[in-house]
C-alpha cells in the first residue's frame, strides 16, 4: 500500500510539489496576504462618529482625517527617530563587526557571534524593562553620574527642549538610547557578514600599491561593507518605525506611529483610521526597500 502510493507520487512530481507547497502557501497567501488586503480595505472604510461603528462603504474620508498637522508631526517624529537610531547603531556596530570579521580567532568569533545572537532572539521586552530601571531618576545611571560629578552635564541634557524631560526615563534621549540598545544586534550581523566577504587579496593589493592602512580602509573596506550597513539599516529602521513599546515605556504624551495605531484601534475602535495610519510606514518601508535594493543590500543579507 505505502509503496503503491509512493510509486504513484514518484511518477507525478507536480503532485508532491502541490502537497508540500500547498499548506504553507495557503497559510501565508490567505492568512497573511489576506490580512494585509483586509488592512487596505479597512483604510478605505470610515467610522461613524455617532454610532461608533465601522461603515463598510469605500470612501476616502479616513485618508482626509489622516493628513492633519498632528498626524504629520507623529510621522515626522517617528521617521526622524528611526533615522537617528539607524545612524547610531551603524556607528556602534561597525567596530565590533570589524573586529569579528578581521581579527577574532575562530574560537573567539564563535562566542562573539553567540553574544550578539542571544540578545537578538531573547527577551526584547525584559531588555526594555531593564532600561526603565537604569534610567530612573533614582536609578544606577544617575547614581553613577553623581559619583563622577557629572550631574551638571545630565541636568543640562535633560533641560534641552525637544529631547529632554523630567528624567532620562521620560525623555527622547531615553527612547533613543533604548532603541539603539535593542536593535544593535540586527546591525552587527549583516555588517560582519559583509566585512567577512571583503577579499583579502584586494586589501593586500591596495597595500602593495602604496596605500596607507587608513586609505585602504576608506577606499576598499568601507565601500565594500556599505551594502551590509544598508541591509542592517532595513531592520533598525523598520523595527523603530513599527514599535510602540519603547515610546510607551519611556515617552510622554507626544506619540509615535505605533502608539497612534494602538490607541485608535483600542479605545475608540477606529480600525479604519488605525489601518490608514499603518499604510504610511508601509509606504515608507517599500520606498526604503527599493532604495536598499539599488544599493545592493539584498546580496548582503
Amino acid at each position: 500500500m505505502a509503496s503503491q502510493i509512493s510509486t504513484y507520487l514518484y511518477l507525478r512530481p507536480w503532485l508532491i510539489l502541490i502537497l508540500l507547497l500547498g499548506p504553507p502557501l495557503f497559510w501565508m497567501g490567505v492568512v497573511y496576504l489576506g490580512s494585509l488586503a483586509a488592512l487596505l480595505v479597512n483604510s478605505f472604510f470610515t467610522l461613524d462618529d455617532f454610532t461608533g461603528l465601522v461603515v463598510r462603504r469605500l470612501t476616502l474620508a479616513t485618508y482626509q482625517d489622516l493628513f492633519t498637522r498632528a498626524n504629520m508631526d507623529i510621522v515626522m517624529r517617528t521617521t526622524a527617530m528611526a533615522a537617528s537610531v539607524t545612524v547610531a547603531t551603524a556607528v556602534l556596530a561597525f567596530p565590533l563587526a570589524y573586529y569579528m570579521a578581521r581579527f577574532a580567532s575562530a574560537r573567539v568569533k564563535a562566542s562573539l557571534y553567540l553574544a550578539v545572537l542571544l540578545p537578538l532572539w531573547s527577551s526584547y521586552l525584559v531588555r526594555v524593562y531593564a532600561w526603565k530601571l537604569i534610567l530612573a531618576k533614582e536609578g544606577i545611571l544617575s547614581w553613577f553620574v553623581a559619583q563622577v560629578r557629572l550631574d551638571w552635564l545630565l541636568n543640562w541634557l535633560l533641560s534641552l527642549p525637544a529631547v529632554g524631560g523630567p528624567s532620562l526615563s521620560v525623555s527622547k534621549i531615553g527612547i533613543f538610547l533604548v532603541f539603539v540598545y535593542v536593535w544593535l544586534p540586527y546591525m552587527i550581523l549583516p555588517v560582519q557578514a559583509a566585512l567577512e566577504r571583503v577579499p583579502k587579496s584586494l586589501l593586500e593589493a591596495s597595500g602593495d600599491l602604496g596605500a596607507r592602512p587608513g586609505q585602504t580602509f576608506r577606499n576598499i573596506t568601507l565601500p565594500l561593507a556599505f551594502p551590509g550597513i544598508v541591509a542592517g539599516s532595513i531592520f533598525t529602521f523598520s523595527l523603530t518605525m513599527g514599535d510602540f513599546i519603547v515610546p510607551t515605556a519611556l515617552g510622554n504624551s507626544s506619540y509615535f506611529i505605533g502608539q497612534a495605531v494602538l490607541s485608535h484601534q483600542g479605545t475608540s475602535g477606529n480600525i479604519p483610521l488605525a489601518a490608514a495610519i499603518t499604510v504610511i510606514p508601509m509606504a515608507i518601508m517599500v520606498l526604503y526597500l527599493i532604495g536598499a535594493k539599488k544599493l545592493g543590500a539584498f546580496d548582503a543579507l
Binding site: 504553507p24 497559510w27 497573511y32 581579527f103 542571544l118 530612573a136 547614581w143 510607551t248 508601509m282
Partner: protein, 269 residues
C-alpha cells in the same frame, strides 16, 4: 566556509578598535545584569540604586500570584502550538523549495520573511483588520495564528540550510536500494533534519514566548506574560514581582536559544 576563511593574524588589532568592540559588547550585555540584581532588592516603591537591602522574598510572592501563573501558562501554550505549526509549515515550504524548481520560487522566501521584515504593527493591525472584517472574536487561536505567521520563516531558514548541506545523493541512494518515499523520509531525511528542526523550533519558541507587538492586536483581554509585563511597564503596581518575572522570562528564553546554538554548531564543526 569556516575553514577556508582563516582570519589574518599577522596584523594585531589596534587598541582603539578593541576598546570600541568591548564597549559595544558591554552595552549589549550589562543592562540585563541589572534585572538580576533588582530581583533581590528590598525596595518596593522605587528603582533606587544601590538597593537598600537584599532579599529572596519576592520569589515567594511571585509564586503565590495567580495572574502570573495564568499569564505564564497562556504564553507557554501559545508558544508551543505556534511552534508546532511553524515546524510543519516551515519544513513543508523548505522541502518544496529544495527539491523542485517552479515559477515564483524566489518569491516564497520573500513572502515568508515579510512578517518579520515589515514593522510589527503592520502584521498586528492587518490581522486585527481581518478579524474585524470577518467578525472573528479574540480567542487563544487568534494569538496562535499571529505568532505562527512570523515563526514559519525561522524554521524554514534552518531546515532549508540543512537540506542544502545534505545533498540529493543520499536520498537517491535510499531510493535505489528499494526504499519508498515514506521510508526514505523516515530513515534518511528525518534523522538528517532532526537537529535543524529542533534548533528552528526552539528559536521559534523563544520568538513567540517573548512577542508583544502583534499579540497586543490579537489577544483582546487575554494576558500573555509579555502583555502582563507591558502593563506593568506603563503602570508599575507590583515592581518587585515584575523584577522577578523579568528574571524568569530571561531564563525561559535564554535556555532554548543556547541549546539551538549548540545544536547547529555541532553539525557545522
Amino acid at each position: 566556509m569556516r575553514s577556508n576563511l582563516e582570519p589574518s593574524h599577522e596584523s594585531r588589532s589596534p587598541l582603539t578598535l578593541r576598546l570600541a568592540a568591548i564597549a559595544a559588547l558591554l552595552f549589549l550585555h550589562l543592562p540585563v545584569l541589572i534585572i538580576l540584581l533588582y530581583a533581590f532588592t528590598t525596595d518596593e516603591t522605587t528603582y533606587s540604586f544601590p538597593p537598600p537591602g537584599l532579599t529572596v522574598n519576592w520569589f515567594g510572592v511571585a509564586w503565590g500570584r495567580n495572574d502570573f501563573w495564568n499569564a505564564l501558562f497562556l504564553s507557554l501554550r501559545v508558544a508551543g502550538v505556534a511552534t508546532a505549526m511553524a515546524i510543519l509549515l516551515g519544513t513543508l515550504a523548505a522541502a518544496a523549495v529544495y527539491r523542485s524548481k517552479f515559477f515564483g520560487r524566489e518569491a516564497i522566501s520573500f513572502l515568508l520573511v515579510l512578517p518579520l521584515a515589515l514593522p510589527g504593527i503592520v502584521t498586528g493591525i492587518a490581522l486585527r483588520s481581518a478579524m474585524s472584517l470577518a467578525s472573528v472574536s479574540f480567542t487563544f487561536w487568534t494569538i496562535v495564528v499571529g505568532h505562527a505567521t512570523f515563526c514559519v520563516v525561522v524554521v524554514y531558514n534552518n531546515v532549508l540550510a540543512r537540506f542544502r548541506r545534505m545533498g540529493l545523493s543520499q536520498i537517491e541512494a535510499s531510493m535505489d536500494l528499494g526504499a519508498n518515499t515514506f521510508q526514505t523520509f523516515r530513515y534518511v531525511v528525518l534523522p538528517h533534519l532532526a537537529t535543524a528542526l529542533l534548533a528552528g523550533g526552539m528559536l521559534a519558541f523563544a520568538l513567540s514566548f517573548d512577542e508583544v507587538i502583534v499579540t497586543t492586536f490579537t489577544a483582546g483581554q487575554q494576558m500573555t506574560l509579555p502583555i502582563w509585563i507591558f502593563s506593568q511597564l506603563t503602570r508599575p503596581r507590583d515592581r518587585p514581582v515584575t523584577n522577578v518575572v523579568a528574571l524568569i522570562v530571561i531564563v525561559i528564553t535564554f535556555v532554548p536559544i543556547l541549546l539551538a546554538n549548540r545544536l547547529t554548531q555541532d553539525r557545522e564543526a
